[in-house]
Amino acid sequence: MLIAVLSGFILALSLVITGKWIKGKGAPLVGLFPLALFGYFVSFFPAIMKGESLTFTYEWIPSLGVNLSFHLDGLSLLFCLLITGIGALVFFYTAPYLKEHIYLDRFFGYLSMFMGSMLGLVLSDNIITLFVFWELTSISSFFLIGFNNESEESRRSAMMALSMTGIGGLFLLASMIVLGTVGGSYEISTLLGSADMIKEHENYLWIIGLLFIGAFTKSAQFPFHFWLPDAMKAPTPVSTYLHSATMVKAGIYLLARFTPMLGETVYWNGTLIIIGSITMVYAAIHAVFRLDLKGILAYSTISALGILVFLIGLGTDQALLAAAVFILVHALYKATLFLITGIIDHETGTRDVSKLSGLNKVMLPVGIAGILAAISNAGIPPSFGFVGKDLIYEATLGFETLIWVLSGVALLTNICLMYAGFQAGIKPFTGQLPKAYEKVHLPSPLMWVPPLLLGSLGMVFGLMPFLIDKSLIQAVVNAMIRGGALDVELKLWHGFNLVLLLSGITLAAGFLLYYFLKPSALLEAKTNRWEKLSPKSLTKGLGGIFSGISKLWTGFFQNGYLRYYLIFALTFLTFILAYKLFKETELYINFNDLTGITFYEVAAMVIIAFAVLFTVLTKSRLAAVASLGVVGYSICLVFLFYSAPDLAMTQFSIDTLTVILFVLVIYNLPKYLKLSNQISRVRDGIMSVIFGALISILTLEVLNEPVLKETSQFYAENAYTLAKGKNVVNVILVDFRGTDTFVEITVLAIAALGVYSLLKLQLKSTEKE
């Protein structure tokens, strides 16, 4: 299992070497890899069918409770099959779609990285690992959205998607940590056992609140939805894979996964129902007025995600069943629609739905796929979409309160979605073929077979729901219900009832809308009038204010003058030290504990005092530096008096080097210049005196604090027995705390490289800003 999850990353790495071959002949073969994974996950069907679930655990950071534990149940299996199945088709599709693109190998690398992260996300049982994979999907999708890195817009939308999902990820991390602390474990399977305790805990609202922000940003829920339409700048295979079938469903997965643990409270269900219904209606209405095929699909995807959130919010067995079915229904038809959009774009060069018609004359198989998907999307019998939509209406009608409001919302959404689906799947293929597109031809079968296959599956599952109801859907639903043992049987025909009436109304209204409302630029422009009030513009405005403030802030504190940096740092330290010292501790010096003063110490102090005075008063820089060196050497002497030869040696060498460095820098400056005026000198003097006095007081106060002797005793006693050394300081450095030392020397090396590159960097004048 670990290998299955990591294989995506391994493949991505191996492309560094095999990239050339992949770009040429190997491209169509890369798809075999996700296909093999698909086969691997299919092999778990028998076990899942029996209602079992499998756990695989690998230790990662046991001391922090972070394990690579994977848990495969119905819900994860459904997602794994979607990820690898649609993944395989997308890989095949990409080969001709991006044929001869110079970065085709990179593209495959990002895709397989993404696939690996998605698999890890839906399989993780450990919530910290889940978060890690969650972030990895954000990062790999950043690369995929910004794949056309020469276009500024595509870069910007990649940034937008990354910041939105990245912010969400942080909230998710916070939520997971609170959850882990409250529940006492980081394993979902263990946490499920303490669900009641978690729900009654005072931090419950924090957990779900933070979790919601994470899920809503990822799954593009109102008001965080706006990154998704922007992300459509990505090549179509990315939109298909990430923005219809997998990544945006990660939030849905998260909600579904935590429903049995955190669900069934007013806060959980209420929030999800409200946010879900706002999103689904808002986005569905938006989808009606879009002209760009991808825009239509983006908004209808947001709307579909809203439906899923809404259904999980209803939380009844009926609703969860509807959600399980709808995840599959939506993945099948939406991926198909995206794929055919890609073909249309690839062959005709436009995605403007008002210009496209009659394409079935030149690319019939694509047209069939489109029509099949549109039928499933609309929920026309006998498609799988019909089964799904019936379940949605059953769920709203079976809810405790507000039946008519909920059903009305669902009805309105479904009508708009049906219209959007027809625009994307049927409109381009019917009617008169414009002259301009007469020469358009059918692309390679690698491109048109995948959508046709997915479209037909939507029909097959509708006609024969028994293929998946007991084997897959039942396990999915039971993973979402606490102690779930629901018996699922999907049927196409339920007889004449209220549900059928609502379906009928949806279809009739959808057809009427499609017949009367023609897409036009005028209508689209009208909806854009409200753009100023949209969450996107508001967020952008907020972002503008934020970056303005940060500019002022940086300009004030990071102004490039070393002396101001020192002043800021020292002032801050002085205030915080003084506050702590005078407010919270009692100041006294225990003179009895101090040892007597010796002659040497007095001598060293006198030397230091004279050297300091000389440094301050001298008019030559070199002399000042030299006398600072004298101060340093005298301090070495003090170290020696108190039997710290190691410290003295090191301080001695360091001081020598510091003086040399200063001399090197100062030597070439003009001999004598009085740079600072009287006022600033006085200011600096006062600051130094105050700071020095504080540090002295602090040092004296430290003596009054009880010292923990255990640590130093441990080192003293074990230095020889464990590490075979008699010099405790050195043994600590190279043995007991060797890892720290290693990190420190690495930092030193980086600092040296930094100095080297800063001083050696010779920018051309055009490169300077």
Binding site: P645, D646, M649, T650, S653, I654, T656, L657, I660, L661, L664, V665, Y667, N668, L722, A723, K724, G725, K726, N727, V729, N730, V731, L733, V734, D735, G738, T739, T741, F742, I745, T746, L748, A749, A751, A752, L753, V755, Y756, L759, K760
Partner: protein
């Protein structure tokens, strides 16, 4: 600083100080000393030489760019850290040969780690100071 005394002294000081720095490095496990101080002393040796004879002279004695020492030192330290892992022990566990070697004393992975520290310190100091000397 172009005096004959300083120049001739530096020619003898360089090998002496280098030897001394190695001595400091090796005794570190038992007596005051160690890789860090040793490295600083070695760097001072080179800096004195370059102050007396000019940077080019010192460079020609050193033969390679001091940045190479960074890499070498980090590699030695890392290798001494991971070497116990080859025999199934945890990272950074000290391994020692059973009998002391004449002159050097006990040899163990900690000694190699200290050598790594020594090299990095020399590399860092010389890189920074040489770079500053050149560019000013």
């Amino acid at each position: 600083m172009n005096t004959v005394i300083f120049k001739s002294a530096s020619t003898y000081l360089l090998p002496l100080l280098l030897l001394f720095s190695v001595f400091i490095l090796l005794r570190g496990h038992y007596l005051p000393g160690g890789g860090f101080v040793g490295g600083l002393i070695a760097s001072i040796a080179f800096i004195i030489h370059s102050a007396a004879n000019g940077l080019e002279q010192t460079r020609s004695i050193l033969k390679f760019h001091p940045g190479v020492l960074l890499l070498a030192g980090l590699t030695v330290a890392l290798f001494s850290g991971i070497s116990p892992m080859f025999i199934g022990e945890p990272f950074m566990k000290g391994l020692w040969f059973e009998n002391p070697v004449p002159v050097i004393g006990m040899i163990g992975s900690a000694l190699f780690f200290d050598i790594g520290v020594y090299l990095v310190v020399v590399g860092v100091t010389l890189t920074i100071i040489f770079t500053i000397t050149e560019t000013i």
